[in-house]
């Protein structure tokens, strides 16, 4: 199956946050704030940006950034959600394969086998996955954007675009075959450059061997709070490629050693019995 991708055009986003709310509605995620019988206890923290952070029940949020240069104010809107990387740190560090790539190139996860170890939370170069421990059961689970492929709520299987894309009024979100999204993104960047945005770029085309959520930006990634060169840390890479196999190898050798030890011991015991 062809790889799919979302193209987010930050230069068209109006921060209406239809995507943020539609994500919660479709995926049945509760509001992050505690609900009380008399009302919802939540607060404004001196910003339009709410809730304060991603969480197991907030997989997508719009970030608001105010910048001023040369007397000109700009209000930048960025999407913060899983980027569905090809070279995905989370997939690399997951100890038991709960995180994996699906046929469309997205990073899926199996919540039943997730142990809530939190390695993915630490390893993600975009600080996306979130994990909390249930006070009731003591069990921790990681959650993040599934690109609307959650079992039972799978929009893509039914030929629909993800909920966030469906709801976007100004057309800042598109969904389709990744190569087509790359082409559309490149074209838009070209247009922006002719309009004088010399720093315009398509973020995610090549980063981490290609993201499945790409951004059209009119300015450098750092201005939008995105890492200029996201990378999977050496230690993370080593984890999957070296340490984990080494671990399995050491573990295996240990078992073999123990087995041999047992065989030797049994032989010795038999000998002694004789």
């Amino acid at each position: 199956m062809a790889e799919k991708a979302i193209l987010f055009d930050a230069t068209k986003c109006t921060a209406c946050r239809g995507c943020q709310v539609a994500c919660k509605q479709w995926n049945g995620n509760d509001e992050y704030i505690p609900t009380e019988p008399n009302g919802v206890k939540a607060s404004n923290r001196g910003s339009y940006e709410n809730p304060p952070d991603l969480s197991p029940s907030t997989w997508l949020k719009i970030r608001f950034t105010e910048v001023e240069s040369g007397g000109r104010v700009r209000w930048l809107f960025t999407r913060q959600a899983c980027m569905h990387c090809t070279d995905a740190a989370c997939v690399r560090v997951c100890p038991n394969g709960s995180l994996y790539h699906n046929g469309l190139g997205f990073v899926e996860y199996n919540k039943d086998t997730c142990t809530g170890c939190g390695y993915c939370v630490d390893a993600c170069p975009f600080q996306v996955p979130r994990s909390t421990r249930s006070l009731l059961t003591g069990i921790a689970k990681m959650d993040k954007c599934t690109l609307c492929t959650t079992q039972g709520l799978n929009r893509l299987d039914d030929g629909m675009e993800p909920a966030c894309v469906k709801t976007c009024p100004p057309g800042a979100l598109q969904f389709g075959n990744r190569d087509e999204m790359v082409a559309a993104g490149r074209e838009r960047v070209g247009t922006l450059k002719t309009m004088g945005w010399s720093g315009a770029n398509l973020y995610g085309e090549n980063e981490l061997n290609g993201l499945h959520v790409m951004y059209v930006l009119d300015d450098y990634p750092a201005v939008y709070g995105l890492p200029a060169a996201p990378r999977v840390e050496g230690v993370t890479r080593a984890w999957k490629n070296v340490i984990q196999p080494l671990g399995w190898a050491v573990g295996g050798l240990t078992i073999i050693g123990l087995g041999m030890n047992w065989l030797v011991a049994r032989t010795n015991a038999k000998k002694e019995a004789k």
Binding site: T14, R17, V21, Q25, N50, P169
Partner: protein
């Protein structure tokens, strides 16, 4: 809207002024994106840098309430540029389609000569005698014209003199917008004055909710007419309505001064139907003027036949006297009604789909006024602040005598009917789900009330029994049939019983009926036009979609479209034609494209049978100079009722004809030096009943706040996120401070003026509660419409 939503995509330049479409019309912003994708430029004019400004090519800050100074400055620029570079403008449009060449009474004097007043002002009555605002007539009674535009009495020259005072520097001193930013904006927008180019103005409540709100809209109309932007694709002045069916409810006479279809409301001086018609039917001696309102008698008689059926006969003036009559000159608008409640004059109130305890101006006053009623009925889908006013915080329910009833209503998705959007498109909606429990739709409630009233009057009699008894009310015995209502609105040929196909065939002799002449042709023998869902494009592919839904009048998608063509009937804009004269059509030619504003031939094709393009005006030409409003024939800057500075333009501080209800509640800049405005945010809707009960949305925007500049916060020692008190002469509220670089202090006349802003969605009922911004707003309104002043008033801000 003169145009419609999809049409925004045809614009070359878009000016959002008094509006914030990215936040308040988010779905519509897609059309703006579509225009921008084709290279259109977006100008955002707003006191604060909004989410619309974030997407704009040019952002112009202006102090709340100074729109007229800003647009008058634009008009001056265009008039100067017309002199210098006439080839950049459509001079044929200006001289042939507007009243620029008309000669005005030589006795007319403008505010430049009369220190801020127009000629004819009577300070005792606080009103104008409009005698000097009229045209000079020739011996046939037709207005005199000078098509060279040189005569000092012609509208064009009168305007030149009037607007000359609005230099870029004067605009900057009043509005606080830097001169170079202002010039960049007008140079960009004025480029749409070239023949074949289109500029649109998108406005909303930031324009209208002022003591001179109607004049704000007039200033846009004048600018757009000078630029030839009315009637063309991608042009127009477009009011973006705040609710899905505001347009529909206005068309069907939501407001006190009109009957359905914008027919004037009857008043005590209308002792006969003939007198009513004499008062309201315009006349003209110009044989080439269609003067469409000459059909007034047909529309009012057809309306009376729809309402009173066989009881409306020629002998009883078609039951004209069954209509209630207002006292001439008396005001019955929102503010006046609440003043009357507060004074104990009005005893009962029905509140339908409205939440005045949150949305009404001077909310504390209006809540108090409700407590002076005997009874109040609220029909809503939630307990609202209005329904709960009797146990609001700080009030002892035992002290409230008002008996309150709450009728549980249904949401739009739980009922069938039509809505008419901002672009005049009437679109049918089907029921998607059953309502919960005993909730009922508004039509059912209205039907029950009327049927029970009729039964009571039939049984017991009483004053008005004949009127109530004569009212035709046959929509079925169970649930009223919404299609029967829609057909009644369209109207019938009463001889044949067939549905009318066009309002052109309505009659004044009682042989036709129509509940709203503007909607005649919406439900015909061919079916329910509003229910059509055919996306076939129009002939010229400019986004009209003539078979999708239905648009009043007569499915015309762009009104005044006869101004979109030259004198030969060929489109000014070859790429986006709206209509086009086709000589080969029919026997003697006809129009292709949109439904034209009348089928008469173009001026050059047949000078005898042609009609001027602006058919709703008696003179057939659009009014750059117009005597229709009560507060002036041209637009003049006045300060808001509460202003931080004296009027830099004249000695007349405020609009001289506004009615002030409570002079003692006027705040002064020594105590309240900061300008404040109220507005909506994308995440909440109106009085908040719907969105403040929706946790996902509350999470995104959890509580009310006051936005202020970093400079003001520094002066007051306020940190971002801190709670602060905002106080006006009417009330005080405590909210969170959002300190932002998106608000900047205004520099005007060497003084620094601060402005703050507060979203008004909150109240004391629902899942998310908070203080209402309208506790601060004043009880004053526009001179023409009485729409309340929500957008510019004075406050002070301090730390808690």
């Amino acid at each position: 809207m003169t145009n419609h939503w999809n049409d925004i995509a045809n614009a070359d330049v878009i000016m959002a002024i008094g509006s914030n479409p990215a936040e308040n019309h988010p779905a519509a912003f897609g059309h703006i994106t579509a225009a921008k994708d084709k290279g259109a430029r977006l100008i955002s004019v707003d006191p604060r840098f909004t989410r619309t400004s974030a997407r704009a090519d040019i952002y112009c800050p202006l102090r709340s309430g100074t729109d007229i100074a800003f647009v008058n400055g634009m008009i001056k620029y265009v008039m100067d540029d017309i002199n210098a570079n006439p080839r950049n403008y459509n001079m044929v449009y200006i001289t042939e389609y507007t009243n620029a060449p008309y000669l005005i009474n030589p006795g007319y004097k403008g505010p430049g000569e009369l220190n801020g007043l127009f000629s004819g002002y009577d300070p005792g009555k606080k009103s104008y005698d409009k005698a000097t605002w009229q045209y000079q007539l020739d011996d046939k009674g037709i207005p005199k014209k000078d098509k060279t535009l040189k005569d000092p009495d012609c509208v064009f020259q009168v305007m030149k003199k009037h607007y000359a005072r609005y230099t870029p520097e004067a605009v900057s001193r009043i509005t606080g917008c830097p001169v170079d930013t202002f010039l960049l904006a007008i140079q960009t927008f004025a480029a749409s004055g070239a023949t074949g180019k289109a500029g649109t103005i998108l406005y909303a409540m930031g324009t209208t909710q002022h003591t001179y709100g109607t004049q704000n809209v007039r200033s846009y109309a004048i600018l757009q007419l000078l630029l030839g932007n009315i009637g063309i694709a991608g042009g127009g002045i477009n009011a973006m309505r705040g609710e899905s069916n505001v347009q529909g409810s206005t068309d069907h006479c939501l407001l006190y001064h009109i009957l359905p279809g914008y027919l004037g409301v009857t008043q005590n001086t209308d002792t006969t139907l003939a007198k009513y018609l004499e008062r309201l039917t315009p006349t003209t001696k110009d044989p080439n003027s269609a003067n469409w309102w000459q059909n007034y008698p047909k529309y009012i008689v057809s309306l009376l036949k729809a309402w009173y059926g066989n009881a409306a006969t020629k002998d009883n003036d078609f039951a004209f006297h069954f209509l209630p009559k207002i006292q001439a000159g008396q005001n019955y608008s929102h503010i006046a009604l609440f003043e009357a409640m507060d004074a104990g004059v009005i005893k009962g109130l029905m509140v339908w789909g409205q939440n005045p305890a949150v949305g009404g101006p001077d909310a504390n006053l209006e809540r108090r006024a409700m407590g002076r009623l005997d009874w109040m009925v609220v029909a809503d889908i939630w307990h609202t602040e209005t329904a709960n006013f009797w146990h609001r915080p700080g009030v002892d329910p035992a002290t409230i005598k008002t008996e309150v009833f709450l009728l549980p209503a249904v949401v739009s998705y739980e009922k069938e009917g039509s809505v008419t959007n901002s672009g005049r498109w009437m679109q049918w909606r089907w029921k998607g789900a059953n309502p919960p429990a005993q909730a009922r739709d508004d039509l059912w409630m209205q039907d029950q009330i009327t049927r029970r009233l009729k039964a009571l009057y039939a049984a017991e009699g009483g004053p008005g029994a004949e009127i109530i008894g004569s009212l035709v009310w046959n929509y079925g015995d169970e649930h009223p049939d919404v299609h029967a209502v829609a057909r009644e609105i369209n109207g019938y040929d009463l001889a044949t019983g067939k549905l009318m196909g066009s309002f052109a065939n309505l009659k004044a002799d009682g042989t036709t009926s129509s509940g709203n002449w503007l909607y005649c042709a919406s439900y015909t023998e061919d079916g329910n036009m509003a229910a059509r869902r055919d996306t076939t494009p129009d002939m010229f592919n400019v986004g009209l979609y003539p078979r999708w839904g239905w648009s009043w009048p007569l499915n015309r998608r762009i009104i005044y479209n006869r101004a979109s063509v030259d004198l030969d009937g060929q489109p000014w804009d070859k790429e986006h034609p709206v209509i086009k004269w086709n000589p080969a059509k029919g026997e003697s030619g006809g129009w292709d494209g949109d439904v034209p504003d009348g089928g008469w031939p173009p001026i050059n094709v047949n000078p005898q049978t042609t009609r001027w393009p602006f058919i709703m005006k008696a003179e057939g030409h659009a009014r750059l100079f117009g005597s229709g409003l009560v507060d002036g024939p041209l637009t003049e800057h006045y300060e808001p009722w509460e202003a931080p500075v004296p009027n830099a333009m004249s000695g007349q501080q405020n609009n001289p004809v506004i009615k002030v209800w409570r002079p003692e509640e006027q705040g002064t800049p020594d105590k309240y030096p900061i300008v404040c405005s109220t507005y909506r945010v994308c995440e909440h809707w109106q009085g908040g009943q719907m969105t403040r009960n929706m946790p996902w949305v509350i999470e995104a925007q959890p509580e009310p706040f006051v936005e202020m500049s970093e400079e003001l916060a520094a002066e007051k020692g306020i940190a971002n996120g801190e709670r602060v008190i905002v106080e006006s002469a009417r009330g005080r509220i405590e909210v969170v401070a959002v300190v932002t670089m998106r608000f900047k202090p205004f520099q005007m006349n060497g003084r620094r003026v601060h402005q703050v802003g507060i979203p008004w969605h909150w109240g004391y009922t629902g899942l998310s509660t908070g203080p209402s911004a309208n506790e601060l707003t004043p009880h004053v309104g526009d001179a023409n419409t009485m729409i309340p002043e929500y957008k510019a008033f004075l406050v002070d801000v301090k730390k808690v």
